[in-house]
């Protein structure tokens, strides 16, 4: 979830940045993470402290990561999948190595509530540690949306995009959706007031119909491009990950281009996700992988990352170290009444996933 400088040049590919090895040419850790998901100095500090060289690769969708893991021998030592449903089924399929907790003394810093929640997909937290968490909501270019829908428009509701008459008005300034059938169907089901975890094909059909009604007004479906486009004013409504939209806001502010971006958690609720750090079963350097995970669990390290990427971390000890500006942003650390409306992506069987992917392809291709 989160993205783009690299993605700007690499969409489907990966781009890597190898941190200059200070002295240790022999010890190395291969990281495979979401794009724009660490602070500028994270890897440098890690190498300085541990003498381990970090090789950093990025992806911008869970699917790409999962495909590499399933193919086997990915060569990565630490990966960062989203807990539900990805890490959940990957742990179940035995793709990950059990953590050696004696090498992870910083586990004591983690938020016990989040750890407990993750134990539901990873019994005893045996395989993974949470990294960052956030929500999937809507980013808008405030001025353009208000110009299109009128000052009094209800921009806090999903009806803003799912009502065809609204979508039609927004089409000229540009609507984008994540190209992710898990996220989009969950949102449409929620808008229709249906169960997000439905096993029922008719619910999937209804959600697909909701998309078909607004399909002519959608500009594109993509997992990372909206960050730049929102910041540049090329689109005015983006379904996307909280931190990505906040990064777009920061970029627009830096560029002083007059684009005013706001992140919205719709009143119908939004997907709450957690990304985890896990070590693939066939990781070539498990000892170094443990060292990296332990390093990230240092409060001062992860606080810097949160400050840089605008995502909340899962480290209780880091709370006071996070910039108040980030700590008090309701888009990043939502207040309790908003938290209560958030929901998680469900786990489904292969047949339903296939049905949903099919429905999604038809939506996208306008058939």
């Amino acid at each position: 979830m989160r993205t783009a400088t690299c993605a700007a040049f690499a969409a489907a590919m990966t781009c890597s940045l190898a941190v200059a090895p200070a002295r240790a040419a022999d010890k190395v850790v291969h990281l495979y993470n979401w794009s724009d998901y660490i602070a500028e100095d994270t890897l440098e500090t890690f190498t300085k402290e541990t003498g381990i060289k970090a090789v950093y690769d990025v992806y911008d969708s869970n699917e790409v990561l999962e495909a590499k893991l399933l193919a086997g021998k990915s060569g990565y030592d630490v990966v960062f999948p989203t807990a539900r449903p990805f890490a959940m089924r990957q742990i179940k399929s035995g793709l990950y190595r059990k953590l050696d907790k004696s090498k992870l003394p910083n586990l004591k810093n983690m938020d016990p509530g989040l750890m407990k929640a993750l134990a539901s997909i990873d019994p005893g937290n045996a395989h993974g540690v949470p990294y960052m968490w956030g929500t999937t909501g809507i980013g808008i270019n405030v001025d353009k949306v208000k110009a299109a829908l009128g000052e009094s428009a209800d921009i806090g509701s999903l009806a803003m995009i799912f009502k065809p008459e609204n979508a039609k008005k927004l089409a000229a300034c540009g609507i984008s959706f994540l190209d992710d059938q898990e996220e989009t169907f969950a949102m449409a089901l929620r808008y229709l007031g249906r169960d997000v975890a439905t096993k029922n094909k008719t619910d999937i059909d209804a959600a697909a119909e909701a998309f078909k009604a607004i399909r002519p007004y959608i500009k594109y479906f993509h997992g990372s491009q909206y960050i730049n486009d929102l910041a540049n004013g090329d689109i005015c409504v983006a379904h996307g990950y909280s931190g990505d939209i906040l990064q777009a806001r920061t970029r627009a502010a830096e560029a002083k281009n007059g684009v005013n971006i706001r992140y919205i958690i719709p009143k119908e609720g939004a997907v709450l996700w957690t990304d985890m750090m896990l070590i693939p079963k066939d990781a070539p350097n498990p000892a170094e992988a443990h060292a990296y995970i332990n390093f990230i669990m240092k409060p001062e390290v992860v606080a810097k990352i949160s400050n840089f990427v605008s995502y909340a971390n899962a480290n209780k000890a880091a709370n006071d170290l996070v910039d108040p500006e980030i700590r008090n942003d309701p888009g990043i650390y939502p207040p309790d009444e908003v938290m209560a409306k958030l929901y998680m992506l469900p786990d489904n069987d292969q047949a339903l996933i296939r049905y949903r992917v099919r429905a999604w392809t038809r939506v996208k291709t306008g058939q």
């Binding site: 059938q181 392809t361 291709t365």
Partner: protein
């Protein structure tokens, strides 16, 4: 009763009407099989066979074996595991080996219109791009072949020069040119030709631009190769006999450059059908192409078997007819040469 005599090239048994018979006849068309048969029958020498073995080994190693692996996966079932498909052969109790072949993947291809739509759309887009490449590339190749000798090398270099930059970056550059606030729209607005930016990016148009741009050199180079080798004296003779240049081009240059036209068109058409990067970066969500369908099967569905079935079906539906077409072309050329003698 005696069976009627049959020409040796066509097997006369009823098998020729079955799938296997068709496959057999099709295989006979391949030089490799012909050589192996020749070797077995003693009509081809071992020395010659060794020389031709090198390219065939290459083909077997880098095309045949990977294709067999894909074919094997296409008959298995998807599971979430490592690797994400079931094995075809399993050992049951009592030393019984069980071979499990799953035809479901191929049935799905026939039942679901999505694959057909994607396939037909890919062929359509690739065909339009090939024609556009030909219309742009032919004058370029013609002009280079008619240029002064010392100019030809620099001109050819200019055609090849874009390859010095990564393909991905060149395609990405088109996003900057075609997007709403991009170069082209800004120039058009500045010139006063339009007042609202045109939706150029994420359309079929942008995919076509990307394909034509990326594959144009593959059209120009073979065309140049045939045009530059052409015998100039034929055109002089035509002129002497009172044929006007336009007619001479149509009756002499164009037919003689057909091998280049065909080679260039193949080099553009075949990769364009399976293109993934260009439709992914420049295409809109409604440009349905087979490369993107394959991506969805691999990544969103994690269904390697169906993805493999799509790949095998694409190969059979696309490459095989083209290979046969080329074969027929060669044969008709041979016949024409014999007639000329």
């Amino acid at each position: 009763m005696m069976p009627p005599p049959v020409p040796p090239s066509a097997p006369a048994n009823p098998a020729s009407f079955t799938v296997i018979g068709m496959l057999w006849r099709w295989l006979l068309g391949f030089t490799f099989v012909a050589r192996v048969r020749g070797l077995a029958m003693g009509t081809v020498s071992w020395g010659r066979a060794l020389v031709t073995a090198v390219p065939f080994l290459w083909l077997i190693l880098f095309f045949g074996l990977p294709f067999l692996v894909v074919l094997k996966i296409s008959f298995s079932q998807a599971v979430i595991a490592q690797p994400p498909y079931t094995p075809l052969l399993t050992w049951a109790e009592d030393g019984i080996m069980v071979l499990r072949i799953n035809f479901q993947n191929y049935l799905l291809l026939v039942q679901d219109s999505l694959y057909w739509m994607a396939y037909l759309n890919s062929v359509r887009i690739a065909a339009i791009a090939t024609v556009a490449c030909l219309l742009l590339g032919y004058p370029m190749a013609y002009a280079i072949s008619k240029a002064k000798a010392e100019l030809r090398v620099p001109l050819l270099m200019l055609i090849i020069l874009p390859f010095w930059t990564s393909f991905l970056i060149r395609v990405y550059a088109w996003i900057g040119i075609l997007k709403t606030n991009g170069l082209l729209n800004n120039v058009l607005i500045w010139l006063g030709l339009i007042d609202q930016p045109l939706p150029l990016l994420h359309t079929e148009f942008s995919v076509l631009v990307g394909i034509v741009y990326s594959y144009l050199p593959f059209m120009v180079l073979p065309l140049y190769a045939t045009l530059s080798r052409m015998d100039e004296s034929l055109l002089e003779a035509a002129a002497d006999l009172g044929c006007r240049p336009g007619k001479a081009f149509l009756t002499i240059t164009l037919p003689l450059s057909m091998p280049g036209v065909i080679a260039g068109s193949m080099l553009v058409f075949i990769p364009a059908v399976g293109e993934f990067v260009i439709p992914d970066l420049l295409g809109g969500p409604n440009t349905l192409m087979i490369g993107k369908v394959l991506w969805t099967e691999f990544f969103s569905n994690k269904d390697w078997p169906v993805a493999s079935a799509v790949a095998v079906a694409t190969l059979l539906l696309l490459v095989v007819p083209i290979v046969r077409f080329q074969k027929a072309q060669e044969e008709s050329n041979k016949k024409a040469e014999e007639l000329a003698r």
